[in-house]
Amino acid sequence: MSLVLAGATLALIVCTLLALLRAALGPTVFDRLQAANTVGTSAMMLLALFGFLFGRPEFLDLAITYGLLNVIGVIAVLKFFRQGDLGAAGASTEKKP
């Protein structure tokens, strides 16, 4: 059973490396953002698997925090690149013309 956990951990490390490669050579900023989101999800799974592999399930709290920060971070960076300001009022896409 520990062998399966170690194999899944190795596969997720490979996933993180592939997503980092995409973030390094992505043409647009959205490619890099998607790669960052994928790295975040892989890191959550890695935290959970490490917790089970080493017998310390307290790492799951770190995984929950990481997931919340991941989603909020992606939305915040999107808003920053769209409007140049994190405090700008929303709903500027419908009434632009």
Binding site: M1, A19, A35, T38, A48, V71, V74
Partner: protein, 111 residues
Amino acid sequence: MSLLVDIASALCLIAGAFFCLVGAWGLLRMPDFYTRVHAASVLETLGADLILLGLALQAGLTLVAVKLLMIGLLIFFASPTASHALVRAALLSGIKPLLATADSGEASSKP
């Protein structure tokens, strides 16, 4: 009974790791931004939830399983929301899908 749960957990973990590898490989190899998001969504929903299901089968009925369920619900709802916001922002900023320009243009792109 314990052996059966172990086998189901191992199958879920192996399938989740396989889907994660497929999603990351598609994120690297796909030709277009939208297809890359499509490939990465496989990792973020199916692969992650299968791995969490495998871990929850090992944990049994404890507090750890509740935490795993919370992580699963968070991923299941928040990750497609982030992907949708990303794709919408990319579409509004003027990135065209690859087939919309290689095909016959505006005549067939909007049915």
